[in-house]
C-alpha cells in the first residue's frame, strides 16, 4: 500500500527522480538472539518526485529523517523498503503499438546526442498468458530490423533537435506498427482499456510498472558493477567542508578521484578536466590550486572543491546536504549562486537538504517538510512558506527569525518536544503536539498526502 501522491500510471517522462514509499528502519539494541527488536523509523514511507533541472528542498528539524533520505538517495544506505527510480539518461524506451494496442516494448542505449547505439531490453505486451509470451518471443526475433529503422531515423535527425526521435511508423512482417516513445505514450494517460476484467487490469498495471523500468533504474535495488556505473548519474555534496576532503590528498587528487574510480581518461586528461572544473567553480587560476592541500584553503574554497568533485563526472542528480550551513553568511550566497549556475550549465537537479527555511526559499522551486520520518507538507516553495497548511509547518515557519526588526512575528507555541522515533504508534506522528488533534487523528493511521490544489500536498485530516 503506497501513500504517494501520484497513481502509478502517471509515471511521467517529466520526472528525473521518483521516490516511492521509501523506508529506512534502524534496529535498536544489540544481540543476535533478541527476537522482538525495536526500530528507529528514521524514514517512514515517503514519496516524492523531482523534475529535471529542478531544485527540490527537503526541510525539517534535526531527527526528521532528511539526512537519512539524502544518504538513501545516493545509496550510502540501503532502504528497508521502497524504490528510488532515477531516469537513466543512457536509455530511451519505446512502446510497440498495433492499431493503438500495445504489443510490446523495448529500450535502447543512446549516446550523449541521443542516438541509439544498442538494444537494451525487450519486453512483451501486457498480460501474463501464453499469448503474451509468444508475442514477446516474436518481438525478440524481430527486434533487429526494428532497431535498424530506429537508427536510420535518428541519423536523419538534426543533432540539435532536443525533442528526439518521436513516433515512428514501422513495417514488420507485413504489419503496420508504430513505435511510440514511452514519454509520449504515458502523456496521453493510461487507464486500462474498459474491456478488461480484474485480473487483466492487474496485469495492465504490472505492465505499466515494467514499462517504467525500461527508462528508469531502481537505484535502491542495484548492486555490483551496474551500481558502480550508475553512480555517475548521482553525486553528493556534504555539509562539512573541513571533513569532506581528505587532508592528505592534494586538490587534484580529491577532484580527480571520481574519474579515477570510474576509470575515465588518462592522468593527463584528468588533470586537464580537473583544471577546467576548478575554473568553473571559481577557483582561478586553477594551476595555483591543483597541488595545494585542503588546509591551505578557506572554508568557502573547500566547499567549491567539494562541488567540483561532485560535478566532475557530469551527474544528472546531486544531493546537497546542508552545503552552506557551516559557512559564513557572505560566503554562503557565493556558493548558492555557484550551484545555481552549474545547474543551468549541466542541467542538474538538486535535492537540497536544509533546516534553514530562508535558504530553502531562495534555492528551491519545490519543498517538502519532514517530521519524524514522514512528509507532512509538500509543494511549490512560495506556496508552502507563505501559505502553510499543516499545523507543524505553520509552527515551524512562525519560529523562523526575521532579519527585519520592524516585522513583528507571532510564534505559534507547540507543546512538548519531538517524540521518539522508536516504534512510533500507528497514528499521526504529530498527534501529541497538534493543536487541531481530533478523535479521528487518534484512531486512524498517519494521514496520507493529499493535493489541496496547485500541487500543494498536505498530510492532515483537519485541513
Amino acid at each position: 500500500m503506497t501513500t504517494h501522491p501520484h497513481p502509478p500510471t502517471a509515471v511521467a517522462a517529466e520526472e528525473l527522480v521518483r521516490v516511492e514509499a521509501l523506508k529506512k528502519y534502524f534496529p535498536v539494541g544489540r544481540g543476535f538472539l533478541a527476537r522482538r527488536r525495536s526500530f528507529v523509523h528514521a524514514v517512514d514511507g515517503i514519496s516524492f518526485d523531482i523534475k529535471p533541472k529542478e531544485t527540490f528542498g527537503l526541510v525539517g528539524e534535526s531527527g526528521c529523517g532528511k539526512t537519512t533520505t539524502g544518504k538513501l538517495l545516493v545509496k550510502l544506505l540501503d532502504p528497508t523498503e521502497g524504490q528510488i527510480w532515477i531516469r537513466d539518461s543512457r536509455r530511451l524506451g519505446f512502446v510497440l503499438q498495433q492499431d493503438g494496442v500495445p504489443v510490446g516494448a523495448l529500450s535502447v542505449f543512446v549516446d550523449e546526442k541521443g542516438r541509439p547505439q544498442q538494444i537494451a531490453q525487450v519486453m512483451g505486451g501486457p498480460g501474463a498468458g501464453a499469448q503474451a509470451k509468444a508475442g514477446a518471443q516474436r518481438l525478440r526475433r524481430q527486434v533487429k530490423p526494428l532497431f535498424t529503422q530506429l537508427q536510420r531515423r535518428a541519423q536523419a535527425l538534426d543533432p540539435t533537435d532536443v525533442a528526439g526521435i518521436g513516433t515512428l511508423d514501422v513495417e514488420l512482417d507485413g504489419r503496420r506498427l508504430s513505435l511510440v516513445p514511452i514519454s509520449r505514450f504515458l502523456e496521453k494517460g493510461t487507464p486500462p482499456p474498459p474491456a478488461m476484467n480484474e485480473r487483466e487490469k492487474a496485469d495492465w498495471q504490472r505492465w505499466l510498472e515494467a514499462l517504467q523500468r525500461l527508462e528508469y533504474t531502481d537505484f535502491a535495488h542495484i548492486s555490483g558493477p551496474h551500481l558502480k556505473r550508475f553512480r555517475r548519474e548521482v553525486q553528493m555534496i556534504f555539509q562539512d567542508p573541513y571533513e569532506s576532503l581528505n587532508p592528505r590528498m592534494t586538490i587534484f587528487d580529491i577532484v580527480a578521484e571520481p574519474l579515477a574510480v570510474q576509470h575515465i581518461g588518462t592522468i593527463a586528461e584528468r588533470e586537464l578536466r580537473v583544471a577546467e572544473m576548478l575554473e568553473m567553480v571559481g577557483l582561478s587560476p586553477p594551476e595555483s590550486f591543483l597541488f595545494r592541500y585542503p588546509h591551505e584553503l578557506s572554508g568557502g574554497q573547500r566547499q567549491r572543491v567539494a562541488i567540483a568533485r561532485a560535478m566532475i563526472i557530469h551527474p544528472t542528480f546531486v544531493v546537497a546536504d546542508e552545503p552552506t550551513s557551516m559557512l559564513d553568511v557572505s560566503i554562503r550566497t557565493g556558493i548558492m549562486k555557484l550551484m545555481m549556475e552549474l545547474q543551468q550549465e549541466f542541467r542538474i537537479s538538486y535535492l537540497y537538504i536544509t533546516h534553514d527555511l530562508a535558504v530553502a526559499r531562495y534555492m528551491c522551486e519545490r519543498i517538502a517538510v519532514m517530521y519524524l520520518g514522514k512528509i507532512v507538507e509538500m509543494g511549490p516553495t512560495e506556496d508552502v512558506i507563505q501559505n502553510p497548511l499543516h499545523p507543524y509547518t505553520k509552527a515551524l515557519i512562525s519560529a523562523v527569525p526575521i532579519p527585519d526588526p520592524t516585522v513583528k512575528r507571532e510564534p505559534i507555541e507547540l507543546k512538548g518536544d519531538v517524540p521518539s522515533p522508536i516504534d512510533p504508534p500507528p497514528r499521526c506522528r504529530f498527534l501529541d503536539r497538534c493543536p487541531l488533534a481530533t478523535e479521528r487523528c487518534q484512531q486512524e493511521d498517519h494521514p496520507p498526502l493529499e493535493d489541496k490544489g496547485g500541487g500543494h500536498y498536505v498530510a492532515c485530516y483537519e485541513v
Binding site: 553568511v329 557572505s330 557565493g334 530562508a358 526559499r361 515557519i397 526575521i402 532579519p403 527585519d404 526588526p405
Partner: protein, 321 residues
C-alpha cells in the same frame, strides 16, 4: 554611568608566524536591561572580545591598550583575585557550543551547585544552593525535578538551558551569550531566545548577544554592533542599522541574508574573503572588498563617526549619509 563600557580595546595574539591583530580599537557601552548584539563572521574578533571581558583570554593573547569599565572599575587593572570575584557574579558567559561543555559524569544540578559554591563561597549552604538551583530551573524553563539527571539524559535544548542557568547562578549583572542557539533547531531556538529575553527584562540584566545570524540579532537586540576583521565598523539602534546602514559591509551583509518574509529577492555576494589578521590591509580593513573604495580608504583608518543620535559608522564614504 553605563553598566559596562569598553574603550578603545586592542587585543593581539602572539603566534609563531607573528602577531595577530585580533581586536583593534573597539568601543561600546551597555546599560542595565539593554541587549547588545554583536554581529560578524568567523575571525572578526567577537569571541576574542567576549573572552577579554571575562579576562579569560588564552596565554598567548595580550591586551595592547584600552579599558573595560564594569560598574566604573577598569577590569584590566584588577588582580586575578579581584577579577575572580567579578567573574560569574558580575559578568557571566554562555560559551559557544556550551551544551557540549557539561561534564558528562556529574549530575546537572550538582554542576550548577558547584558553580554557586565556587563563586559565592560560604554564603550558600548546600540546601540553599539546591533551592537556588530549583529557582534557576524554573527561570530558564526546565523541570526542577530533573535536577538530578545526567547531561546525556537531556536534549540539546535542555542542555543549553542548563548552561544558561549556570551562567545566571550568581545573579550577574551582565551575561554574554556567544552563539547561544547555533546548534539548535529553529523551534527550540525561538523558545530559548524568548525565554532569555524575558529573563533579561525580569532581572534587568545587560545582555551581549554574539552571533553570525543577523536574523536572531535583529529580533533580540536593542543595539547592534557590526564587527569586521577586528574592528567595530558600525553600531547603533537595531531598527536604524537594519533600515539605514551606513557601512558598505553592513549593507552587504543585510542583502546577503535570505528571509522568509517579504519579497523574494536576489541575494548579493561580497566578493573576496576576510583578511589575514597577521598582516591586515592598511587603512580601512574592508577596502579590498568594498565597491566604493578610494585612495583614502587604502591609506587611512576611518574613525567611528556619529551619524544620527546613537548611530555610528566607520567609513570614508558612508551610504545614505
Amino acid at each position: 554611568m553605563a553598566l559596562l563600557e569598553v574603550r578603545n580595546l586592542r587585543i593581539r595574539y602572539r603566534t609563531k608566524k607573528g602577531e595577530v591583530h585580533a581586536v583593534d580599537d573597539v568601543s561600546f557601552t551597555l546599560e542595565r536591561g539593554e541587549a547588545l548584539g554583536l554581529v560578524g563572521e568567523s575571525g572578526c574578533g567577537k569571541t576574542t572580545l567576549a573572552l577579554a571581558l571575562m579576562r579569560l583570554l588564552p596565554e598567548n593573547a595580550y591586551v595592547l591598550g584600552g579599558e573595560i569599565l564594569f560598574q566604573g572599575r577598569n577590569l584590566l587593572e584588577l588582580s586575578e583575585e579581584e577579577m575572580r570575584r567579578v567573574r560569574w557574579k558580575g559578568i557571566a558567559m554562555v560559551f559557544q557550543a556550551a551544551m557540549n561543555s557539561l561534564n558528562p559524569v556529574y549530575r546537572v544540578g550538582d554542576q550548577i551547585i558547584e558553580a554557586i559554591q565556587t563563586h559565592q563561597g560560604d554564603a550558600f549552604s548546600i540546601e540553599e544552593a539546591r533551592k537556588k538551583v530549583r529557582e534557576l530551573f524554573e527561570l530558564v524553563g526546565l523541570n526542577p525535578r530533573r535536577m538530578n539527571d545526567y547531561p546525556h539524559e537531556y536534549s540539546g535544548g535542555m542542555r543549553q538551558r542548563a548552561v544558561i542557568a549556570m551562567a545566571l547562578a550568581c545573579d550577574p549583572a551582565v551575561i554574554i551569550a556567544d552563539e547561544p542557539t547555533t546548534a539548535l533547531d529553529v523551534i527550540i531556538q525561538d523558545r530559548i531566545l524568548r525565554r532569555l529575553d524575558k529573563i533579561r527584562a525580569q532581572l534587568n540584566m545587560g545582555v551581549i548577544y554574539i552571533s553570525h545570524d543577523i536574523a536572531v540579532i535583529a529580533e533580540v537586540s536593542h543595539k547592534v554592533g557590526i564587527m569586521y576583521a577586528g574592528n567595530l565598523v558600525e553600531i547603533g539602534p537595531t531598527a536604524e542599522i537594519f533600515q539605514n546602514p551606513h557601512h558598505p559591509y553592513t549593507a552587504g551583509l543585510m542583502s546577503a541574508f535570505p528571509s522568509i518574509r517579504g519579497e523574494k529577492r536576489e541575494l548579493t555576494t561580497i566578493p573576496g574573503e576576510p583578511p589575514n589578521l597577521l598582516t591586515p590591509p592598511p587603512g580601512c580593513r574592508f577596502h579590498p572588498r568594498c565597491p566604493y573604495a578610494t585612495a583614502v580608504c587604502r591609506e587611512k583608518v576611518p574613525p567611528l563617526e556619529v551619524f544620527e543620535g546613537e548611530h555610528r559608522a566607520a567609513c570614508w564614504h558612508p551610504l545614505n549619509a
